[in-house]
């Protein structure tokens, strides 16, 4: 199968959806000639023109409010916030508006929009450009939260996000835009709420998403050499979450390690532990382990930065503690 960069898979999804539905448009900062801060949109301005590739001033609140308003009135905006850290400037529009409108109006209105953004550490850009804030959005009823790791998943899930009738927070990771992965030529979409077992195993389930998926796969490779068989579970969408598939995996392996790059406190990992504890306690042969980012902001110095986030080694260590 042909291979595509993660960022080219994003572009392809946008192209297909824009060709399919004239109501789809892109809006955000530096998405015109610049093609987006991570160049996922390069060439799209030429292809679709400034009416469908709308380059905005640095006005996060108006970008997202603008997307909501257009969504309420018949369009399907894909709004880009350059860094997830900058969503902070527009939290009213995300949390009080986009997430609540359908609910508050008794389903009279709905908000078919996508908020595309990216997060994560690894580029030495310090505390205000490296956060993993998915738990904030996960916490808010009314938002769907998607965090694809591979080219295949990012394309299929973005297409689904654009067609979805509710607000979707679509979170990419800055370290994986140039990762290549197989993407079929034929059209496909991936439904929300369907996890993907990225590697089958029988001794322990490792729950990991976004960039941490790759750390988990590396850990599983190393552990296999020692005779430990890991099942690597990628939820792909955090809301809706494929709980049944997770429970099934735990039923098989009886052990669970949950990985998340975000600071541990109040993280997705914490909630996954709670869910599995509630629903599958009887199938567990040991405590669930979390491998998370430290409860610290992300520093500039590379050595310190790396110390703040999980690695293959920390995952291996956690697995061995419960095996």
């Amino acid at each position: 199968m042909r291979e595509l960069d993660y960022r080219d898979a994003i572009k392809e999804a946008c192209i297909e959806e824009m060709d399919r539905d004239p109501r789809v448009f892109l809006i955000g900062e530096d998405i015109g000639v610049y093609g987006g801060a991570f160049r996922a949109y390069s060439g799209l301005l030429d292809k679709y023109g400034p009416e469908r590739v709308i380059n905005t001033p640095i006005s996060e609140q108006a970008i997202l409010g603008g997307a909501i308003g257009a969504a309420l009135t018949g369009y399907r905006p894909v709004a880009e916030i350059m860094f997830i850290d900058f969503c902070t400037l527009a939290m009213d529009q995300i949390v009080n508006q986009a997430a609540k409108i359908k609910y508050m109006t008794g389903d009279a209105l709905n908000v078919p929009m996508v908020l595309r953004t990216q997060g994560g550490a690894g580029r030495g850009i310090a505390a205000q450009h490296s956060q993993s804030l998915e738990a904030w959005f996960y916490h808010i009823p009314g938002l769907k939260v998607v965090m694809p790791a591979t080219s295949y998943d990012v394309k299929g899930l973005l297409k689904t996000a654009i067609r979805d009738n509710d607000p979707v927070v679509f979170i990419e990771h800055k370290m994986i835009y140039l990762n290549k992965g197989p993407v079929p030529e034929e059209e496909y979409t991936i439904p929300f709420g369907v996890a993907d077992i990225k590697r089958e195993g029988k001794d322990v389930t490792i729950f990991a998403y976004s960039n941490m998926l790759f750390k988990a796969l590396e850990a599983a490779d190393d552990l296999a050499k020692e005779g430990i068989s890991c099942e690597v579970f990628d939820p792909r969408t955090l809301v809706p979450l494929d709980i049944d598939a997770l429970i099934n995996s735990v039923k098989k392996t009886n052990k669970l390690v949950v990985v998340s790059e975000a600071a541990e406190r109040g993280s997705i990992a914490s909630d996954i532990m709670a869910i599995v504890n509630d629903k599958a306690f009887d199938y567990l042969d040991g405590p669930i382990k979390r491998v998370c980012g430290l409860n610290s902001a992300i520093p500039y110095n590379s050595k310190l930065e790396q110390a703040c986030i999980p690695h293959k080694e920390s995952i291996i260590k956690a697995v061995k503690e419960i095996i």
Binding site: I125, Y300, N301, K303
Partner: protein, 321 residues
């Protein structure tokens, strides 16, 4: 306005040179990966920081942006600590935690660079409040870009400080670009200084490549603020010589624009020529300043190179909460 003293003009020239050479050096080290992450060179815009910071006192405050080295140096920052921070070292201004976008120095009243565009604008309101409450005549210079002027925080902040008559001098560095977005295409009305009218405060448009014009205008606004009259808004038109960051070829700009600006509006070249023409300084004296500056930057690099990395244990004990 009384004529500027020769000493003050030479001092401003020294600062312009210091910032220019420091920035050139950081670009070199960025290209050699000694400095990493994001680096936003201030080259071409030095006259704004130098003119503005020369118009205030040591005890006054400034607050800066992601493109903040020039502001820090103009306020008197220590080159050693700056370079060490850019090298990620324990001896840097932020103990290696912040890098280029977060340099701050409380002793100098430098309240920090900022990775969030517009992030410093509302903070200046609070600093202005404390200046007012303290009643010692202190002021704060709030630097921000044309891009930042389009964020909602600009309106909230200027309105509030105007209502409360806070001693804040808003200095918008309109360098024509916010990454790829030209301010002509993003600022409705293309007149940031003109917004002052709506807030009932003084607004000034200055040539940001003319260090004297910047100085004189900021001095006027500072005087106005110290007398308790409240904020002013100054728009300094300037030009960003390099791309948004060292690896940005700035392909989105019209051909020839950068060359034109560099040849006509290089604040450093123009000021050197002016001072030589007015016989305030000789070429030989400028050479001396250049040499001395290079030496001090060499020393800063040496300091940064030889400084220790931050210790992980210490870092963890300080930051985990």
């Amino acid at each position: 306005m009384e004529k500027l003293s020769k000493e003050l003009q030479v001092l401003m020239l020294k600062k312009l040179i210091e910032i220019r050479r420091f920035e050139e050096r950081t670009v070199q080290y960025y290209q050699r990966s000694k400095i990493w992450g994001y680096l936003h060179p201030y080259i071409g815009e030095e006259a704004v920081a130098v003119g503005a910071c020369t118009a205030i006192k040591k005890e006054d405050y400034i607050i800066s942006t992601h493109r903040g080295h020039g502001h820090a140096i103009a306020k008197g920052a220590d080159l050693n600590k700056m370079m060490a921070e850019l090298f990620g070292k324990a001896t840097g201004y932020c103990k290696g935690r912040g890098g280029s976008m977060h340099i701050a120095d409380t002793e100098l009243g430098m309240l920090g660079a900022n990775g969030i565009v517009g992030g410093g604008i509302p903070i200046s309101v609070g600093a202005g409040l404390s200046c007012k409450m303290e009643n010692k005549g202190r002021v704060i210079l709030c630097f921000f870009g044309d891009g930042a002027a389009n964020n909602g925080v600009f309106h909230e902040s200027v309105n509030m400080s105007a209502m409360f008559k806070l001693p804040v001098i808003y200095i918008c560095e309109n360098n024509l670009y916010a990454i790829s977005m030209c301010s002509r295409d993003s600022v409705a009305g293309n007149d940031i200084a003109g917004r002052a009218k709506g807030y009932g405060i003084p607004g000034y448009k200055v040539d940001g490549s003319d260090v004297i014009e910047v100085f004189e205008t900021v001095e006027k606004a500072v005087d106005y603020a110290r007398k308790g009259n409240g904020p002013s808004l100054i728009e300094a038109s300037t030009y960003i010589f390099l791309g948004h960051h060292p690896n940005d070829p700035a392909a989105y700009r019209p051909k020839g624009e950068a060359e034109h600006e560099k040849s006509k509006r290089d604040c450093l070249t123009n000021f050197k020529t002016k001072l030589i023409n007015e016989k305030i300084i000789t070429e030989a004296q400028i050479d001396e300043i250049e040499k001395d500056t290079e030496k001090r930057i060499d020393a800063a690099v040496e300091f940064a190179e030889s400084s220790p990395e931050p210790e992980l244990e210490k870092f963890l004990s300080e930051v985990m909460s």
